[in-house]
């Protein structure tokens, strides 16, 4: 066992006393997220051919892409269950036509349960 005076961290602690804190006062302070943080999805229906790869590989069955029009005249609609989405963005990777993107929007909470299913 080492015999020496306890409190070796005192120097560091006193130094930090006069330094700027490392934490922020959250609702007031600034929140920082990385530039390519995975947030809510966006969907661009122009190129979508309705292959369903996004739905096939979605681990949590959160995304639904359906064709509301006819086979010739497509009218693609995508909806996302935010409560179920795990923001892995595998759908973005899986999409062969690159119709899905992710944004940095992570503030998605809502007081109303119905708002947790959104049209993209």
């Amino acid at each position: 066992m080492i015999k020496s005076a306890p409190g070796k961290i005192t120097n560091m602690a006193v130094k930090h006393f006069f330094k700027k804190p490392a934490t922020i006062s959250y609702p007031k302070g600034e929140m920082h997220i990385a530039g390519n943080y995975r947030g809510k999805l966006t969907y661009d229906p122009t190129n979508c051919n309705g292959c369903g790869m996004c739905m096939r590989y979605c681990p949590s069955n959160a995304i639904t892409v359906i064709n509301e029009g006819t086979k010739e005249e497509r009218k693609m609609k995508a909806s996302l269950k935010i409560a179920q989405c795990i923001f892995c963005c595998q759908c973005v990777d899986s999409c062969p036509r690159k119709c899905l993107y992710y944004t940095q929007n992570i503030d998605l909470s809502s007081l109303n349960k119905d708002e947790l299913v959104v049209q993209l």
Binding site: G7, N36, C58, P59
Partner: protein, 408 residues
């Protein structure tokens, strides 16, 4: 005489020293522990069954969520197993990225452990410092992978995201700052008297016992056995990377602390080496959707130790059997042995010293009704509980709650 003085204390399932549910029924004679029953399994989520009804890509994200700390190592083990089954080899750049992320994850995990361990022995200042430094690591992981804990880097056949030059600079900057801090922690851990008083001689596990009880990771390395999957059975590009396997002969919690701190320094060196020697090229090769039938045992060195995945495929899109032997699962067996004969005050730090991950041990539920995960609101939940009791012959609605008495 002492038989009558025994007190049985439950540590858990809900206890401030445990961040996850686990129940240690401790029998005390005064302050000395004379018996322990380790009760785990509160987090069982039926993951293996869930894997059998999902395709390989979906499983990656499921396995990533086994554990919030070592999410990358599970997906690495799974992906390299499936790649072996499919007979594809991943690009070297992808392998380097896997190693970089794995080592940053190790930094994150060990710093987290350092903080938790300091907190268990009431050293909150060190806890705050360690977690502050961990924030920088998490920021890097978020920049690399897009999320703080579930980075989603791995995919079958490679990795999903590249590490570009500016990110490499950021990582190097982070490691430089961190190295200084870790060296400080090293000095602190080795010289601070109160730390040594609380850590030395606690949770003794000799090398022989460590082998017998199948301990892995820093626990076995602190008992003087240089067992590290990165060296024993190199995966990804670990065979090309020069690194030391850290061991220590203290064979107690103090030794585990030293091993983890030195591993932090070693990880920093590995990251620097990888950043410097990262080849150019693709980051992913195409993987088939159907994986040929076969079985594979895939091992990785998670921050907590050896992670074994057993995967058996049957030629379809879905695996036949997936079994994850997470590192914490192996370390539990020695727990009773380590706790016996100690003071109760040392129980939390001994439990914390194996860096237990209850989620890893118990693994992931999807035994929900049907495909939809049900969300219950408050009235339904209340109705559910009334019905639940009614079925068992108790009518809660008829019980009169006595009027609230005011004290004072």
């Amino acid at each position: 005489m002492s038989e009558y003085n025994r007190v049985v204390i439950p540590i858990g399932p809900q206890h401030p020293s445990l961040k996850e549910p686990g129940c240690f029924t401790v029998t005390l004679d005064g302050e000395k522990i004379v018996d322990v029953v380790v009760g785990i399994g509160y987090n069982h989520r039926g993951l293996e069954k869930a894997c059998e009804s999902r395709n390989y890509i979906q499983i990656i994200y499921l396995l990533e969520r086994i554990c919030g700390i070592c999410s990358h190592t599970h997906t690495t083990a799974f992906c390299q197993g499936v790649e072996e089954l499919a007979g594809i080899s991943i690009p070297r750049r992808a392998a380097y990225i896997r190693v970089i992320v794995a080592e940053i994850e190790r930094l994150h995990s060990h710093l987290l452990w350092l903080g938790v361990a300091a907190h268990e022995i009431g050293f909150d200042t060190m806890f705050m410092y360690a977690w502050r430094d961990r924030e920088a690591v998490l920021d890097i992981l978020a920049a690399v992978g897009g999320n703080r804990v579930n980075y989603g880097i791995n995919t079958i056949g490679g990795v999903r995201r590249d590490i570009d030059d500016s990110l490499r600079q950021d990582i190097l900057k982070m490691t430089d700052a961190l190295q200084e801090q870790v060296k400080y922690y090293q000095e602190l851990a080795l010289t601070e008297t109160t730390l040594a008083a609380r850590l030395a001689g606690i949770g003794k596990l000799s090398g022989e016992d460590a082998l017998k009880y199948g301990a892995v990771g820093p626990v076995i390395r602190a008992s003087g056995i240089d067992f590290d999957i990165r060296a024993v059975d190199p995966y990804a590009v670990y065979a090309e990377i020069p690194f030391k396997v850290i061991t220590d002969t203290h064979a107690d919690v103090f030794g585990r602390t030293v091993v983890r701190i030195l591993e932090l320094l070693e990880s920093i060196e590995i990251i620097r080496f990888c950043i410097k020697n990262m080849p150019d090229g693709d980051i992913v090769t195409k993987a088939p959707r159907r994986i040929p039938a076969g079985e594979v045992i895939s091992r990785t060195e998670a921050p907590r130790g050896e992670d074994i995945h057993y995967i058996r495929s049957n030629g379809t899109e879905r695996p036949d059997r997936v079994r994850v032997r997470a590192p914490s699962e192996a370390n539990w067996h020695a727990m009773r042995h380590m706790l016996l004969g100690q003071y109760l005050a040392d129980a939390p730090i001994t439990i914390a010293a194996i860096d237990p991950c209850f989620s890893c041990t118990d693994r992931a539920i999807v035994i929900n009704s049907g495909r939809e995960t049900e969300l219950m609101d408050w009235p339904r939940l209340r109705q559910y509980s009334i019905d639940w009791y009614k079925k068992r012959g108790i009518d809660v609605a008829s019980i009169k709650i006595p009027e609230r008495r005011m004290y004072f």
